[in-house]
């Protein structure tokens, strides 16, 4: 199918026409992925939607083949994973792709989310698009958590114990929820069985929400680095071949980096202790979740004090879920009418501070709370850094963003994408135009 050469509905060979007039899959693809008009000034950060789609498919495919060899039983799970690593043809590749795939899936979604925050992609009319994205993120976290339990190593078992226990903090029904999650009175075989079943189910839920996410995107159209709506055809290009081409470049580079880890440092992001089989009577010295949960783990642990009638445990759980909750209502917290941080001189700074704050939260989540941050400075412990960074996280979303919308004076916006991109040059006379990324 070449772009732009044929009309919707009456395209292609006789067979294609016959099918399309009964089930319009071809004209749908043509309309939504080929002719779909996208702003022509995307930078490389707009690659990550395509990268995430690829990662979801990769995870489902490697996962299905792993499931054919895996045994969800406490006495066999660990050995069945080792059998995959040793005796299944290219089983090591499947498993390392799946394990590192989870890491790179999260790297991609974090870049995708921070890109959305920098360029104000969550603002009207894209509120639901953003909220569906947060739903996908939540489902991904649940899926990753349950998947990590399946190899039944020490961190699988103890991570599952710690995280499922969090639900017991919920008043009245907490203990019943935990029993339901466990399928008994401790993390044991029923837990492993139901986690396996749900770990297989959730990716398809994610797939469903991704479809909604894309439908919403195709109604509102994409945001762009200027945050100014396209004013006409001079501001856009057909998605295919221009962005399919550009997405291919970004995807190839991303997969190259992932492959370097899969083949040469496959356990870099993993916890060594998970290569010890789960032992319910041997508690590891430090129980830490996978790296992509560390900022949330830090927020959970940083509320170690009672607030009025809320005890520390419930407070921590509320803070942790609240940290994702604020993302849900982000479109209404940020009152500024300007989308792109490039035209918001103050927000721009606070964006980078928030990013730094999240990275420091990740550091805090991976360290024992009682350790000094700097060796030798005994009075400043990791927990103190946790208080500061947790406070700042909520301060940013709940206080700063609403205030900035009122007090910040944004820079003047360009009239259109073309005007900003061409910088006054005459359209049509610039075959050797400068790279768009500088726009």
């Amino acid at each position: 199918m070449s772009a732009g050469t044929h009309q919707t509905g009456g395209t292609g060979s006789g067979l294609v026409k016959w099918i399309d007039s009964r089930l319009p899959v071809f004209s749908y693809m043509q309309k939504e992925y080929a002719e779909f008009e996208a702003p022509k000034n995307f930078n490389w950060f707009w690659n990550f939607g395509a990268i995430l789609t690829f990662m979801l498919v990769l995870m489902i495919m490697t996962g299905v083949f792993l499931a054919m060899q895996y045994t969800p039983h406490t006495s066999l799970a660990f050995d069945s994973v080792e059998r995959i690593m040793r005796d299944v043809n290219f089983g090591w590749l499947l498993r390392y792709l799946h394990a590192n795939g989870a890491t790179f899936f999260f790297i991609a979604i974090y870049i995708h989310m921070f890109r959305g925050m920098y360029y104000g992609s969550y603002k009207g009319p894209r509120e639901l698009l953003w909220m569906l994205g947060v739903v996908i993120f939540l489902l991904m976290m649940a899926t990753a958590f349950m998947g990590y339990v399946l190899p039944w190593g020490q961190m699988s078992f103890w991570g599952a114990t710690v995280i499922t226990n969090l639900f017991s903090a919920i008043p009245l029904v907490g203990d019943s929820i935990v029993t339901l999650l466990w399928g008994g009175f401790s993390v044991d075989n029923p837990t492993l069985n139901r986690f396996f079943a749900l770990h297989y189910l959730f990716p398809f839920l994610i797939f469903g929400v991704v479809i909604l996410h894309v439908i919403a995107l195709h109604v509102t159209g994409s945001n762009n680095p200027l945050g100014v709506d396209p004013k006409g055809p001079q501001d856009t290009v057909p998605f295919h071949p221009y962005y399919t081409m550009k997405d291919s470049v970004g995807l190839a580079v991303f997969v190259t980096i992932m492959a370097a880890f899969v083949f040469f440092a496959p356990n870099f992001f993993g916890e060594p202790e998970n290569y010890l089989e789960a032992a319910p009577l041997v508690t590891p010295a430090h129980i830490v979740p996978e790296w992509y949960f560390l900022p949330f783990f830090a927020i959970l642990r940083s509320v170690d004090f009672n607030i009025w009638f809320i005890d520390a445990k419930l407070g921590g759980v509320l803070a942790m879920f609240g940290s994702i909750g604020v993302l849900f209502i982000l479109p209404w917290l940020d009152k500024s009418p300007v989308r792109s941080a490039n035209f918001r001189p103050i927000y721009k700074w606070f964006f980078w501070i928030l990013l730094l704050d999240c990275i420091v939260l990740g550091y805090v989540g991976g360290k024992p709370t009682g350790d000094p941050v700097v060796a030798g400075v005994e009075w400043f412990k990791v927990i103190h850094l946790g208080y500061i960074t947790t406070f700042w996280y909520f301060f940013h979303f709940l206080i700063l963003l609403p205030l900035l919308g009122i007090f910040e004076r944004p820079k003047p916006l360009p009239k259109s994408i073309s005007e900003a991109v061409l910088g006054g040059r005459t359209p049509g006379a610039t075959a050797n135009a400068k790279q768009m990324e500088k726009a």
């Binding site: 022509k40 000034n41 050995d79 080792e82 690593m85 040793r86 090591w92 590749l93 390392y96 790297i107 290009v237 071949p241 221009y242 081409m245 550009k246 291919s248 470049v249 190839a252 580079v253 997969v255 190259t256 980096i257 492959a259 370097a260 880890f261 899969v262 083949f263 040469f264 440092a265 496959p266 870099f268 992001f269 916890e271 060594p272 202790e273 290569y275 010890l276 010295a285 430090h286 830490v288 790296w291 990275i359 990740g362 550091y363 989540g365 991976g366 360290k367 024992p368 350790d371 073309s418 991109v421 061409l422 040059r425 359209p427 610039t430 075959a431 050797n432 135009a433 768009m436 726009a439």
Partner: protein, 261 residues
Amino acid sequence: MGIVCNLRRAAAATGLIASVVLVSSSAIAAGGAKHAVAQDWHFEGVFGTVDRASAQRGLQVYLEVCSGCHALKQVAYRNLAALGFTETEIKAIAANYEVTDGPNDEGEMFQRPAVVSDSFVSPFPNAEAAKASNNGALPPDLSLQVKAHAGGADYIRGLLTGYEDAPSGTDVPDGLNYNPFFPGSFIAMPAPLAEDGVEYTDGTKASVDQMAWDVVNFMQWAAEPEMEQRKKTGFKVVLFLIILSAVLYAAKRKMWSNLDH
């Protein structure tokens, strides 16, 4: 060579990115234990391979010293072919061990010599028996120990060669031994290696350092038997992906050059 350098540089760059992303990986290292000195292992790096001569000697150390207490249940005798042992040699090694098989036609379990398709025979029938023979401590299975500790091979080599007299004033609890490389410094395993503890078939002098070196090479292979295939495949895959990225980038530039942007 240029490609090799680029690949190394790329690997270094990705490592750098990753270490920024994951500031906390070293935070999990065992608190307080002495850090083992990093060694120059044959299996390290993009082109690292198994030092077969050393790993073969390591097998001898495992069989004659470690296997008295430690199992190696993820490895099968047939896997030893990858270390350069012949079928006859592997059959002879396996035949030294007895496994319980059955039930036979009369419904009885019976003992038979191990065959090449059997996993390495464990020294104890179960964890309880292992603990009962070892002062209540469970000798860990050695199949994955190199991957199961921060520091990997260096840590295990450090541990095996790191036994020393406890500093004065330190009370070593009964049944434990002093080893500063072990988290907490008190380890149930007594110093396992002694000078000339084995007599190497290839004539190598069996110093404690040499035996530790060899058995760690063996354990590294046991933990990652796929390593050589993984790295060889990886070199081709990453090279292909770098070229693909470059070609796609050139095509993208060409395509976009017709646009006003």
